[in-house]
């Protein structure tokens, strides 16, 4: 059988195989007393289609693409791997089993019971991939995504079912087919003597109409040693030129390489090479028009919404160093907590102020003044005060009050970010005025509010008929107008720097960099649930947003393999890192280029909208979670801001 037909047959077989495995789920067998040991060194057996290599450009045979997935693949340029943010990335999760270098599976045991607490899978180009077997839940949707994701395992008879969520966007196969960051992956790992069979189900509701299924085979290898390929990438762009922010991509219809391979394999009709759910069924070849449906089990819309839940609640996520992320009814607040007190980046909506304040106080109490048993007593620890044992004092004293809110930084004048200013600032304290503080009762009694001066302008003298200024206590007390603004001294032991982002979402956006904790609070410039909401009336523009995102990428450094390191807290959505910001920057840049190209051809705004330049990203950024900021809103903002530039 020719390889291409074999591919289709293999996929069909795999689908049947997975159906056979999944079928018993309704009556799951109990965990076997002694499950098969899958640990060891394994060698990839090259007997499946596309193993280790990659299909030629434009070969989507067997991939149940939807139209968005097809366009995303068509317009993806392999040169993207030359950009600084991509050079050290490992293979994407769906490709790891197919990558070179074999696989090592290790067991992590509970020291008391010797139960397997986790398996750890390693490949040549991977990070450690833990599969937790101890029943722990998956993290909340606002937790970060990684290359390996978060995996839990469960034995189903002789098969280990591994469920992986929280994966970053990447590629389904190398050379074109992409995944969004909303996919989940399920691996069914079965050992038969010296053979390990892995059936992988990739369920990406953004780019696929049905889950993609493939199988991979390994054999035990007692002498192999899975090497670690270190990253020797560097910060220069391998794509040449002098623009480190260059985003390689093809405009729709520009990629002429998609059918090159069919010149050689000219017996293959073009249609099935474009992928699609229908094409993976045997009935397709016989000309059938009706096919069984196996829709995605994942709801992208629901999962995107969950990253930024409008639930009227406050959720706290520890980030790094001094920094915590509070998700307050879907809006993110960055919190710095330490010996100097509390700093907030943004204050959430007015309606959430009470709950935010309660959460901040609770956090301040537990993080800064945790109750601790006395360790100083008797002759070994004489009292400095001479009248009581420190032991007695520690026991009879109540805990110190939580440190006050000293600063609120506003990244913009958006209502969801300044709504809590008045309430939270009033609850805070800033020792402004030094010894003169007591002379005027209102001085020094509120937290200091810092922002770009256009935030103050907008809150103090809002435009529009009937618009009322914000209460005085809600207005910034310290503003800046320059490229950046450093807080004059360390706060909680670190420098805090505001970087202005001119003409981004508005004319008053800031990024806030916590230089020791390695956290950037990005405000509305970055969102994981929507396109950037650009307000042209308030001085926003597409290039300013791109520049702001690039500024984040210039400041941030990944910890390892292009992930972790500097954390970025978006205005809304999940905690992110450089890779996530790079993906978002790429998306915004790609759409800017497409709109620019269409406008350059003389298309009107309506014609540009009709051309759907955002089509392959709408499932990700124009869901219900984005609210009223639709794909059309974004396209119009891009179009008009490009017109203004002329």
């Amino acid at each position: 059988m020719h390889k291409r037909l074999a591919a289709l047959a293999a996929t069909t077989f795999a689908a049947a195989a997975i159906a056979a495995i999944v079928a018993p789920l309704s009556a799951q067998p109990p965990r076997p007393a002694n499950p098969t040991d899958i640990a060891g060194e394994w060698t990839l057996t090259n007997n499946e289609e596309d193993t280790t290599a990659q299909p030629p450009l434009g070969d989507y045979l067997g991939i149940p693409f939807n139209a968005a997935g097809r366009q995303r693949a068509d317009t993806t340029a392999e040169s993207i791997w030359g950009t600084p943010e991509y050079q050290c990335r490992p293979h994407s999760a769906p490709h790891q089993w197919r990558g070179l270098g074999g696989a090592r599976i290790l067991k992590e045991q509970d020291p008391l019971t010797r139960d397997v607490r986790a398996y750890h899978v390693q490949f040549m180009r991977s990070l450690d991939w833990p599969i937790f077997m101890d029943g722990r839940p998956h993290p909340p949707a606002w937790a970060p995504h990684s290359w390996t994701g978060f995996s839990t395992g469960q034995w189903i008879g002789n098969t280990l079912k591994v469920t992986t969520t929280h994966l970053k966007d990447g590629y389904l196969k190398r050379g074109g087919p992409q995944t969004s960051d909303m996919y989940s992956m399920t691996d069914y790992i079965t050992r038969h003597d010296e053979i390990l069979t892995i059936v992988t189900v990739v369920d990406d509701p953004v780019y696929q109409d049905e889950p993609y299924v493939e199988s991979t085979t390994y054999t035990i290898d007692l002498t192999s040693n899975v090497a670690m390929e270190t990253c020797n990438g560097s910060s220069f762009a391998e794509n040449g030129g002098t623009d480190r922010h260059h985003v390689p991509h093809f405009l729709p219809g520009q990629n002429t390489a998609l059918t090159e391979w069919l010149k050689k394999d000219d017996w293959i009709p073009v249609e099935p090479t474009r992928g699609g759910a229908n094409t993976i069924y045997p009935e397709y070849k016989s000309g059938a028009t009706k096919f069984p449906a196996s829709r995605s089990a994942v709801s992208a819309e629901k999962d995107i919404q969950a990253q930024s839940p409008r639930d009227g609640q406050v959720h706290v996520l520890p980030v790094q160093g001094n920094i915590y992320m509070i998700v307050a009814d879907g809006t993110n607040i960055t919190v710095s907590m330490g010996a100097d007190g509390v700093m907030l980046v943004n204050s959430g909506s007015a309606a959430m102020s009470e709950k935010v304040l309660a959460a901040v106080n609770q956090l301040a109490s537990s993080a800064v003044t945790p109750p601790a048993p006395n360790t100083c007593f008797g002759a070994a620890c004489p009292s400095a005060w001479g009248w009581a044992s420190p032991y007695m004092n520690a026991v009879i004293s109540s805990p110190a009050p939580p440190k006050p809110i000293r600063y609120i930084i506003n990244t913009s004048a958006a209502s969801e970010h300044v709504g809590g200013n008045e309430k939270l600032a009033t609850a805070g304290f800033f020792p402004r005025g030094g010894g003169f503080g007591s002379a005027v009762s209102s001085v020094g009694r509120e937290a200091s509010i810092v922002a770009h001066e256009n935030v103050l302008n907008r809150l103090s003298t809002p435009a529009g008929p009937g618009a009322k200024p914000a209460p005085a206590a809600a207005q910034p007390t310290d503003t800046y107008f320059d490229e950046f603004h450093k807080l004059p001294e360390y706060f909680n032991g670190e420098a805090v720097i505001l970087y202005g982002a001119p003409r981004a979402n508005t004319d008053g956006d800031s990024l806030v960099f916590f230089r020791h904790s390695e956290v950037i609070s990005a405000g509305n410039i970055f969102s994981t649930i929507s396109y950037p909401a650009i307000d042209l009336e308030k001085g926003g523009g597409i290039q300013g947003v791109i520049d702001g995102l690039n500024r984040i990428l210039d400041l941030a450094v990944a910890e390892y393999r292009g992930q972790g390191g500097t954390w970025i807290i978006p205005g809304r959505g999940r905690l992110s890192d450089t890779a996530d910001v790079a993906s978002y920057r790429n998306m915004v840049t790609i759409i800017r280029d497409r709109v620019k190209d269409l406008a350059g051809k003389g298309l009107t705004l309506q014609q540009v909208k009709a051309a759907r330049p955002t089509m392959d990203f709408d499932g990700r950024y124009a869901s219900a979670a984005a609210g009223t900021w639709t794909a059309d809103s974004f396209v119009e903002a891009v179009y008009r801001s490009l017109q203004e530039k002329k």
């Binding site: 340029a77 392999e78 390689p248």
Partner: protein, 130 residues
């Protein structure tokens, strides 16, 4: 004119699997076209999985553009007699390469390299250096 035919690095550039990182040559570069680059070497990054030569080349308007020319990994280059000392910043070189598939991108895949000062030449499998 000196003509050199090197075959030592066949495994690397022909099959393109040993030195793969994530990207493939065939997907990144248009293997049906060639581009000639003539200019001064500004950086030589001798590393794995792929080395890079950066040269400054005047475009058709006379503006200097920095090109990144992708080369083999250190093992393959070492086997063909190229080490990290072989090329120096400032060398005048002529490079024939495969251009990027992305229009307007200043990157290429090395086919041949020749240094003007001493005639040093390198060629990928089957490539003649004139």
């Amino acid at each position: 004119m000196r003509r050199v035919l090197l075959l030592a690095v066949a495994a690397s550039l022909a099959a393109g699997t040993a030195a793969y990182a994530h990207h493939s040559y065939a997907a990144t570069y248009d293997v049906t076209r060639e581009v000639k680059l003539e200019g001064k070497l500004v950086q030589f990054v001798y590393r794995n999985p792929h080395s890079f030569v950066h040269i400054s080349v005047a475009d058709d308007k006379g503006v200097q553009q920095r090109w990144a020319v992708e080369w083999s990994g250190t093992t393959q280059l070492g086997n063909s007699g190229v080490n990290k000392e072989t090329l120096k910043v400032g060398d005048d070189v002529v490079i024939m390469g495969r251009p990027s598939r992305v229009p307007g991108e200043y990157r290429a895949l090395m086919l041949t390299l020749k240094r003007k000062s001493d005639g040093f030449a390198w060629g990928s499998p089957g490539q003649q250096v004139d």
